[in-house]
């Protein structure tokens, strides 16, 4: 295969998936976050009978509806790409992805779709309690959808519960529960959902602050800020806790991603967490002696504590993971890239021999080759890699996205605390500077939300499935011109959708609530 063409096809296919996933992720967090907020507001209406809470809930429901209508089905675009741009991957993981995505469609989406019609159109047709139940069911449906998608993504990061069948070339699910409730999936779910809650809260506070700036609908704005601020503060604290959980899981299962997140090239015991740092652009090779940092401020021992629950634990750096030889948590010695690649190549050779044996009817030989594949399957992906650098993700991108995301997370804890303080002292309505900060903080929330996914997905490169399948083996042999064409088509289509969303939403916000 033409190496240059393949590299271009891989990059464009990755770029297309990133583009469409990024656009999809503009709509989803607001759906998840606003769903909870509007449910809380409607609950207050039903409990207090205060019509103003009903009007408040209805306004945010309209905003939810705009976002939902424009965002709905944007995720299906990603599935289109599986079948065309990522056909090898699609067959390889079909048995694993099929179950969670089917459950997502049948259970979660139908739950959402059924109750959403009652929520939007049933205000005068059903009782208060039935309507409230419907609103919470929509929230539950949306959240369940997120869970099953994240189960699929979690399996990519840490493949378990399967056996590879060289006859069907599929990873066949042998333990549904191992996949469905993997620690990675559970942690990813909490971190992703709470970050969406935080975004929803930031959005509500920001938009409400715009009304305060304009001195319009101030009662509505202050009610909305009251709920969203408390919800936001709780959310960002939960984000921090689940983020800690993420660091722990990543340390155990994807040490190279952690090393990239922290710009850690040489491992150490009692490793500190970089709070702020500037990477040295002169660091070009993972194994040169150039200092990776121009400067950094570290919190001593925190990386070891977060990663291994032991302040003096050894945290491997990029060079250690490539060279191997350090002691793992289970007491065994880490393999080097070369050793992993040897095992991967053994598996690949056995796969070729298996194919030959099967075609010649030599079933006993085929069974023996299958055993060799299974014994070396954990390193199957390394057999596609040529050199050490192939197993290293983009460190600057992963590092900066991670640190920006964490910085913004810390900012929002402070932000919501400050807004809550001024709101409780009834000083917020006159604090114009804070209102403007709140408005522009919406952008920060969206950026942090996107950057989190960049960390998760760029940090796992070159893998589509950790250690098992790198991107260059996963991609189809589709001509790169086709991928470029659809990339441009998607860029245009999604931009139109985004412009429509922003236009319609701004119009509705300017119109204001029915107060």
């Amino acid at each position: 295969m033409d190496v240059l063409l393949n590299a271009a096809a891989v990059d464009w296919a990755r770029g297309q998936f990133a583009l469409t996933a990024g656009y999809h992720w503009i709509f989803v967090p607001l759906t998840l976050g606003l769903a909870v907020i509007m449910s809380i507001m409607e609950t207050l209406y039903v409990r207090t009978g205060d019509e103003k809470w009903k009007k408040t809930a209805k306004f945010w429901q309209i905003i939810f509806g705009i976002n939902f209508a424009i965002g709905v089905a944007t995720g299906i675009i990603l599935e289109f790409q599986f079948g065309t741009n990522w056909s090898n991957y699609s067959l390889f993981v079909g048995d694993i992805f099929g179950a969670p995505l089917a459950i997502e469609g049948i259970v979660a989406f139908f739950l959402e779709a059924t109750f959403i019609s009652i929520m939007f159109f049933g205000w005068k047709r059903v009782s208060k309690k039935m309507h409230l139940l419907s609103t919470w069911m929509v929230t539950l449906g949306a959240t369940l959808s997120a869970y099953w998608i994240l189960v699929a993504n979690a399996w990519m990061q840490h493949p378990i519960g399967m056996e590879f069948n060289p006859e069907t070339m599929r990873n066949e699910m042998v333990d549904f529960w191992a996949v469905a409730v993997s620690p990675i999936a559970i942690n990813k779910f909490f971190h992703t959902v709470t970050s969406s809650w935080g975004l929803g809260a930031a959005f509500v506070v920001g938009v409400s602050s715009w009304y305060l700036i304009k001195k319009r609908h101030q009662d509505f704005a202050l009610r909305s800020i009251k709920i969203a601020t408390i919800f936001g503060l709780i959310s960002f604290i939960l984000i921090a806790l689940s983020g800690d959980g993420s660091a722990y899981e990543v340390s155990q299962k994807q040490p190279m991603k952690l090393a990239a997140m922290e710009g850690l090239y040489k491992g150490k015991e009692g490793a500190g967490l970089v709070a702020v740092g500037l990477l040295n652009p002169k660091k070009e090779a993972y194994n040169d002696d150039v200092d990776p940092y121009i400067f950094k401020l570290e919190i001593p021992k925190l990386l070891s504590l977060m990663g291994y629950r032991n302040a003096n634990a050894f945290v491997p750096g990029v060079k250690d993971i490539v060279d191997g030889g350090y002691t793992l948590q289970d007491g065994t010695t880490a393999l080097s890239f070369k050793e992993k690649r040897e095992r991967g190549l053994l598996a690949h050779k056995a796969l070729a021999d298996f194919q030959q044996a099967k075609s010649e009817g030599r079933d006993t030989d085929a069974a023996n080759f299958e055993t060799i594949i299974r014994e070396n399957y954990n390193y199957f992906g390394y057999g596609f890699l040529e050199k050490e650098e192939d197993m290293i993700p983009d460190i600057p991108l992963t590092f900066y996205m991670f640190h920006f995301m964490v910085l913004v997370g810390g900012y929002f804890i402070l932000f919501f605390a400050v807004v809550w303080y001024y709101h409780s002292k009834k000083k917020l309505e006159n604090f114009t500077a804070l209102q403007h900060v709140a408005l522009w903080s919406i952008v920060l929330a969206y950026l942090a939300s996107q950057f989190g996914w960049v960390v998760a997905e760029v940090g796992r490169q070159p893998w589509t499935i950790q250690d098992i399948l790198p991107v260059q083996a996963a991609v189809s042999g589709v001509p790169v011109e086709n991928v470029i064409t659809t990339f441009i088509l998607f860029a245009v289509l999604f931009t139109i959708l985004l412009v429509a969303e922003v236009t319609i939403m701004l119009k509705q916000i300017k119109k204001g609530p029915d107060f």
């Binding site: 295969m1 309209i62 509806g65 705009i66 209508a69 424009i70 709905v72 089905a73 299906i76 675009i77 289109f80 790409q81 079948g83 065309t84 741009n85 056909s87 090898n88 699609s90 067959l91 390889f92 060289p166 006859e167 069907t168 070339m169 599929r170 690649r341 190549l345 690949h348 050779k349 796969l351 070729a352 194919q355 057999g383 596609f384 890699l385 040529e386 260059q472 083996a473 189809s476 042999g477 589709v478 086709n482 064409t485 659809t486 088509l489 289509l493 959708l497 429509a500 319609i504 509705q508």
Partner: protein, 60 residues
């Protein structure tokens, strides 16, 4: 139905038509299906792709 509802429904319907009637059939065919004669050959095709892309070719 309010003007907003109508607008959103129109956007949803147009979006779904574009996605399923234009993008999927024209730009996103099932690649594997196009490379094989029937379902049973898909595994063989992917196996050959994996073997071809393996770096053990460069070892020999």
């Amino acid at each position: 139905m309010s003007k907003l509802s109508k607008t959103l429904w129109i956007i949803v319907i147009i979006k779904l038509i574009i996605m399923f009637a234009v993008l999927k059939p024209i730009f996103f065919p099932d690649f594997l299906k196009s490379q094989v004669n029937d379902e049973s050959e898909k595994a063989g095709y992917v196996r050959e792709q994996m073997i071809e892309r393996s770096s053990f070719d460069s070892e020999e």
